[in-house]
């Protein structure tokens, strides 16, 4: 009987010690981990879009509740003015959902850049949407309040050769982002004041 009690006590103490240690370490690293994930998954696209900004957009970020989900917005400060945000929309490509980071200038409602963050398109064909700068550059300067389309659908975006589905998916994603922007513009404008 004593033996069983000893076993139980030792295991319980050990487990609670381990649980406590892990909780402490998890609490200590949580912020850092979130930052790292943003840097490595979304960082390249964000930095591309907000090229030339004087701050670190991954540090200067805020969240807005949009219905049930919380969306992250990354602030870019240009010439001392915080007037640009980058945020993510979702489009459906050839190989599944694609995450698209879109940067919008809130003063004139224009898209200043677009980048693909996550995708599972065919390497070398659809993946050009992420790797070939020519394609995303076409989105620069478009109005962020109108839906965008590829040329075959009556829009003004040149599709990537051999990857129409991907190109269309990117346009859908950008349109999705513009809708989010239209919906949340008041909150964005309000929140962004904090970074001035």
């Amino acid at each position: 009987m004593r033996e069983i009690i000893k076993m139980i006590v030792v295991l319980t103490v050990l487990s609670s010690f381990s649980g406590g240690l892990l909780a402490a370490i998890r609490g200590g690293t949580m912020e850092k981990i979130e930052y790292q994930q943003l840097v490595f998954v979304k960082g390249p696209a964000i930095r591309n879009i907000l090229e030339g900004c004087s701050n670190d957009p991954i540090v200067d970020r805020f969240k807005i509740k949009d219905g049930d989900i919380e969306r992250s917005f990354f602030v870019g400060i240009f010439d001392g003015k915080a007037n640009t945000v980058a945020f993510e929309g979702v489009g459906k490509g050839f190989g599944g959902d694609m995450g698209l980071m879109v940067g919008v200038n809130i003063d004139d409602d224009k898209i200043i850049g677009m980048g693909v963050t996550t995708h599972s398109e065919t390497p070398g064909i659809g993946s050009k949407a992420q790797t070939d700068p020519k394609f995303p550059n076409q989105f620069k300067g478009l109005a962020a309040i109108e839906p965008c389309k590829v040329k075959p659908d009556g829009g003004e975006i040149d599709a990537i050769s051999g990857a129409t589905v991907t190109s269309r998916g990117v346009c859908v994603g950008v349109t999705d982002a513009t809708e989010i922007y239209k919906r949340l513009k008041p909150q964005i404008a309000e929140k962004i004041q904090e970074f001035k």
Partner: protein
């Protein structure tokens, strides 16, 4: 149980054939003919096996050099390989990338004449 004679045969075989092998690799390295017979274009969508000879000879399709190699129009004499100017990722706005150049060249002609038009009839694994 290996006799000396067997060993000698093996040594002899190894040395003679090594010399023959090295010599034939060194002296008879396979040179590409002046005019390619067949070409293999490599790309992501699957390699393309292009029978150059059948496209050019009279008994084949009898296409003249300058029909495809458009550098000849500018007065040059040697047809240049397509990849010479049309690079996979073209930086120059005026020069088509390799994919676009081949797609326009091949598909256009295949549609006018009677070539295969579906992707998988040229792009094989």
């Amino acid at each position: 149980m290996i006799s000396n004679k067997e060993l000698q045969i093996a040594y002899g075989l190894a040395i003679i054939l090594l010399v023959v092998g090295v010599l034939s690799y060194a002296a008879f390295s396979a040179k590409a003919p002046d005019q390619p017979v067949r070409l293999m274009f490599k790309c992501v969508a699957g390699k393309i096996f292009f029978d150059h000879k059948t496209h050019t000879v009279e008994s084949g399709y009898g296409i003249s050099c300058s029909d495809c190699h458009h550098n000849l129009e500018e007065g040059e004499t040697d047809p240049q390989p397509c990849g010479e100017c049309h690079e996979p990722e073209s930086q120059d706005e005026d020069v088509l990338s390799r994919t676009d150049a081949f797609h326009t060249q091949c598909i256009g002609c295949h549609k006018e004449e009677a070539g295969p038009e579906k992707c998988e009839l040229c792009h094989v694994m």
